[in-house]
Symmetry: C2
Subunit: 206 residues, 2 copies
DNA sequence: CGCGACGTTGATTTGCCTCAACGATTGTGG
DNA sequence: CCACAATCGTTGAGGCAAATCAACGTCGCG
């Protein structure tokens, strides 16, 4: 258990220095939670009380539109934070589903505890600023990609930037994340495999 | 001039409290800069040395793809921050153009000065964390909209959420921001005007 | 006034979606 | 452990929203 917990501290230390005293104050604010495959962390309408750090497994966040179509916003694996962030911050009803795609283990913190932790361990304020800076940069890039790339190029791009991640999610989740249908993604993969040629399968993305 | 400068302090105070001593330390770190209509704040390949706060005017950030097509990432008016954030943070070559659409006035800060300011005025660390939280939320919503809404609905959505902003930019910039061509936006507007009926022009978005 | 950039409108094309049927794979209860 | 159902991925046929291409009107500016 504890060796998993230290994933969080190790992760934070990639961004900000922590004294060992500060380090010890972090973990006690978190509770570990397991979530079964296909279990839901949150559903629309509920209030998202926790910010959750993934120490094992994978999850996705998505919405459903009025035609019951799912749209995947995030594909999360180890060292990602998941929450309905708007709901967590403002106590408003959540907009997203968050579902475990693999059996997962999370470290969760409630908002009052997080605020208290900011005061006890000031570098965390900086950590979360850096975290949100990076998230902002990634989303900016994703928007640029959605505006300027074809479905095919978005897929190629994703595979190159996050190798290994695609393999952990059903293809339809990846398709939705990339803004296309499962049918389109299937055709794109077929196209790539064909043009690579039967002899040179070393580009296989499986 | 100073009355414009105080727009920044006033803005920051919407997010975090500042003592008057702290308040006085903020503005001296910034330099005011005017930029003519169609002037460029930054171009791809340059290093973005400043984070710029818009106190007057409007700007857009965009990229061009290999087919010379422009793709607008941001439409900025008063109280927005503009920069090639990645370049600003890491000193890497900028990816974006930033162009003044109207004659504009900015308050600029360099990165070392910003870091120094964090230390002098700790609440700014919190301010920028909150700022990036909000930017993150807005980008998330934009991605959801791009995934789940038609071009028509994205336009309606934008007009409702940012009334007045559209009028300050050429239609083709708005179209690009919304992920469609100028032709498509023109047809959408025509469609909306027609279905509103010739007698009831009170929904006109001009 | 005349040039150039912008918006509009029409004709045509296209990338991706929808619908549908069929394999492949997974998971589950008997 | 097998049989069956359910889910997922693949493939094909047809359709549609939006893009492209192109011509014309309009406005602002030198």
């Amino acid at each position: 258990m504890d060796h998993l917990g230290h994933l969080l501290v190790t992760h934070i230390r990639k961004y900000v220095p922590l004294s060992s005293e500060q380090e010890e104050k972090v973990l006690p604010s978190f509770r570990q939670r397991r979530i079964a495959k296909r279990g839901y962390l949150i559903k629309p309408g509920e209030v998202c009380r926790y910010e959750s750090f993934v120490i094992k497994g994978s999850l996705r966040s998505f919405i459903t539109d009025e035609q019951e179509h799912e749209h995947v916003l995030q594909l999360a694996v180890e060292e990602a934070w998941v929450s309905d962030f708007n709901s967590f911050l403002y106590g408003t009803p959540a907009q997203f589903y968050i579902e475990a795609v693999e059996p997962s283990v999370l470290l969760q913190i409630e908002r009052p505890d997080l605020e208290a932790l900011y005061r006890q361990v000031p570098p965390l304020e900086r950590y979360f600023r850096l975290l949100h800076q990076n998230l902002y940069l990634k989303l900016s890039q994703r928007i640029v990609d959605n505006l300027s790339l074809s479905a095919r190029d978005r897929y190629i791009n994703f595979i190159q930037q996050a190798p290994g991640v695609a393999a952990r999610f059903p293809q339809k989740h990846l398709a939705s994340y990339l803004g296309m249908t499962p049918v389109a993604l299937s055709l794109i993969r077929k196209g790539l495999k064909d043009e690579a040629g039967p002899g040179e399968g070393n580009l296989s993305f499986d």
